[in-house]
Symmetry: C2
């Protein structure tokens, strides 16, 4: 059902601005900084241009490029202006990520980190103006000549059956074949990126651990992580907080912000690596009698993404929090965090940080927008305009969920009106699925689906359960509905209206599928 | 709302048969052995009477009474027959509880343990017939003369504001005043008994621990439990699995079996005692590296109730499983488990065994009916006739719940149409309540209630959250509705029909209260 978008292959767009002007950038804009939606992007103001020209403060591109990330005085360009950001770096709310643009133009990054597209940000930057790009190095007097590196150029070539929602950054659902086997193959595992895929060389990779007591940080190579510690294998499902947002929009008649994920922003894999608990112990942290003041573990990804989880989750060996170095028996792929990702089973996937290169123990939870804003659930009445972001906790553990992935004729049954309904069911916190109810008469009556007896690895049930239900094919105007129950006997809400939230997260109302719609699109 | 039943005080009924023939016994019959409902109680058959009379096998009551629980050969009477049950005790499915009737008549116990009222049970008993009661000691040739002890005679005198559903055994809801303060006073804490309240002398009380490795059992006095181990204090809510069953019946239009609890089969208290983990360690169990074969901890109550919880829950010190010796700062009362009860916070109250006197570590979970049958959730289509009892797990952790306890005019507001809605919200597993949504227009729109900032003691949020919502009074035909969200972002199902189950447990759909109904009964 979800894989009707057809083929999507990697596009390499040479012109950077063009590359970032597409729907992906628009998506990021909405996702990351919806507040800025009402603000028009500013036009370049060159009021100081003539003055500067008079004082001769023009720089050749060649010189600007030498003020890169590793230089003593990093510069950036915006339009035809040049800024020395050296003294701003320490104060930059996003940290040293600003250095990515050093020696280069800042616009492509701001097209991703759209939070910068605000008057006050422009004003801050203006304080660091040191001159202009030499007019000879400009195209049309505005855009610096020559190619600027496309940050997406290193993104991997992906399986053509992924259901791509945005290409740059890549956001793609797992296709039906990825959702109907207990282990999703790595190639078909859903992809949810905020940025491009970082290119990390195995040799230079370092994991830095800061145990928060003022002692020296410790670093670990990939080899250290794979050989110094016992390796643990678990099966665990990762689910995007926005999975089934499209269903929420449709069911409630209200559009939430964010990508319109169907039921495919979820996949299940086998993960292997050391327990983070063991690595923290090696780094000098007292994992058995931890100091009470450090309550959070923050993960930093090479892509500048960061977020934290409560320390109890990490310190309990039965919670199986790994630094995953392998996925499905092989080295991680770039899309899934090579060389190392955090794997926080039972929590929303946003906490399983990819390309993780730094872990800090903190008193407070991460101050990143992915902790403080993006992944929180609010009431159906609450809006972006009125919200107190601090009034809701960030999503960690997640509610019981289920979805229908296929409905097809039952080829093992002679009766032409028999059909097979298949799907997945999943709950956060390691809570096992104990029952799956299916209705083929719009919810009037229910029958139990057969839960497949797959082998879950780990101390709790971190993986989804796949289920199958065989029944007669109901009239064409019927809805097939699924709802699941987890081992805490939590059940799913009946409808989307009362759980709608403006971020469109936690969409776990019953999955209803019109039977006529399905037999049309599914020709299996 | 819940306390409209008026006063209920202790009744001491001298005639035992009469005492047990009331609604309490009928209730127990339905709760514990609904399968037997269709079977008519048997009439006494005295076919062997004449034969026995001829052989002279008549016994005086005086002699029969000497074959009590502590005798070498315990006897029981049924009608005018006498049975030597010595050789049956080991095979008795209910264990040594059968000894309670030794030296006495079995009928009053069978009126409670109604599972015995079956032909095959009568046939088993008949194998142990040894004679008859001397006709001189019978009334009307059938019933033994003299008073037989009323097992309920020791039940405490209870607060008259408890909302009594059945008196013998006592099942009573907490009244509104018990539901509207964070800590429910002990006198107003709801009562849910299967039998009478055991009379246990502090001096003779012993807790026996069997750590399951074949080593000698260890015993502890109450003083041992209170002085040999660090004492921990937690606040924890206990909720009957059947809380809000009446709402489920009403909302679904289908009657589930069991007492028709409203929203008052739940209360919150402060509990104090040693961690069970520490007591097991003292008894010789390796709590840090437990043997993998022992997965369950079974609690036995003096009332013959027994049930088990997974060992992980007990061994994790952050799960706060206590042997509670105090409730709200005082010695436990008889109704709440004096001298010691298990306190398994976050689990359904059925696992917090009262009057616990024995704890065993087992490979498998308890085989008692309270584990294997009574407290399980099934699908809305499943019935007692078709059910595979093993297809559902017993309830341990419980789903998110909320209820309205009061709706009253807002005396702090000059507007005559303003009102205050109050209630509780609670989730199992220590999951905190993060949001309470209230609707006063039948669920069309929602607003967030204010969650009171009470202090929760313990490693997780084991207590309910009380909430308050001030709003205008809606038209008389409106429903006020509440639904809560816990920290795993689980929400409550909209309606009862799809979660109805024949045992009537886990009733956690939205609580809907018609506004006209409330202002009628609540004259605050």
């Amino acid at each position: 059902m979800e894989n009707s978008h057809g083929q999507q292959t990697k596009k390499l767009v040479p012109g950077l601005i063009a590359a970032l002007a597409g729907s992906a950038a628009v998506f990021t804009w909405i996702e990351n900084n919806p507040d800025s939606l009402s603000e028009a992007p500013p036009k370049l103001k060159n009021t100081q241009h003539d003055t500067l020209k008079a004082t001769g403060k023009f720089f050749k591109l060649e010189e600007i490029r030498q003020h890169g990330p590793d230089s003593d005085r990093p510069w950036i360009m915006r339009g035809n202006k040049v800024y020395d950001i050296t003294d701003w770096i320490e104060s930059h709310p996003g940290g040293k990520v600003i250095l990515r643009a050093a020696g280069s133009a800042v616009e492509p990054y701001w097209d991703i980190f759209t939070i910068h597209k605000k008057t006050d940000v422009y004003q801050i930057l203006e304080q660091y103006l040191i001159g202009h790009v030499d007019p000879d190095d400009l195209v049309d007097g505005q855009v610096p000549k020559g190619s600027i590196e496309d940050p997406f150029s290193g993104d991997p070539i992906r399986d053509s059956s992924l259901v791509v929602l945005t290409d740059r950054p890549c956001n793609a659902e797992s296709p039906m074949s990825g959702l109907t086997s207990f282990i999703t193959s790595t190639a078909l595992f859903y992809v949810r990126h905020h940025f491009w895929v970082p290119q990390i060389a195995k040799e230079s990779y370092k994991m830095t651990i800061d145990i928060g007591d003022g002692s020296d940080e410790k670093t670990y190579t990939l080899r250290d992580l794979q050989t110094k510690f016992p390796q643990h294998t678990i099966t665990a499902t990762l689910q995007c907080s926005g999975n089934r947002r499209a269903h929420m929009n449709e069911g409630s008649g209200r559009d939430a912000s964010g990508l319109k994920w169907g039921a495919g922003a979820i996949s299940n894999a086998e993960w292997r690596g050391p327990l983070l608990r063991d690595v923290l112990a090696d780094a000098g942290f007292d994992v058995d009698s931890p100091p009470g003041d450090l309550q959070h573990v923050e993960f930093y990804g090479e892509d500048t993404y960061s977020t934290s989880v409560p320390i109890d989750k990490v310190l309990d060996p039965r919670q199986d929090v790994l630094l995953a170095c392998e996925m499905n028996g092989e080295t991680l792929t770039g899309d899934h965090g090579y060389p190392v990702r955090a794997l926080v089973p039972g929590n929303t996937a946003a906490r399983s940080v990819k390309w993780v290169n730094r872990i800090s123990l903190l008193e407070d939870e991460s101050q990143s927008q992915w902790q403080q804003r993006d992944y929180k659930g609010f009431g159906p009445n609450e809006t972006r305009d009125t919200i107190d972001w601090d009034s809701a906790p960030c999503i960690q553990d997640t509610p019981v969920q289920s979805a229908i992935t296929t409905i097809r004729p039952d080829q093992n049954n002679d009766r032409s009106d028999s059909m097979v309904v298949e799907g997945y069911a999943f709950s956060g916190g390691g809570r096992k699925i104990v029952r799956v109810d299916v209705s083929i008469d719009n919810g009037k009556t229910w029958t139990q689906a057969k839960i497949e007896p797959h082998k879950h690895l780990g101390h709790k049930t971190w993986s989804w359960s796949l289920w199958t239900h065989r029944c007669r094919r109901p009239p064409a105007d019927s809805c097939v509905i699924v709802k699941a129950v987890d081992e805490a006997y939590n059940s799913q809400p009946d409808s989307f209206g009362p759980i709608w939230n403006f971020r469109g997260v936690l969409a776990n109302a019953w999955h209803r599928v019109r039977i006529d719609k399905l037999f049309q699109s599914d020709t299996d």
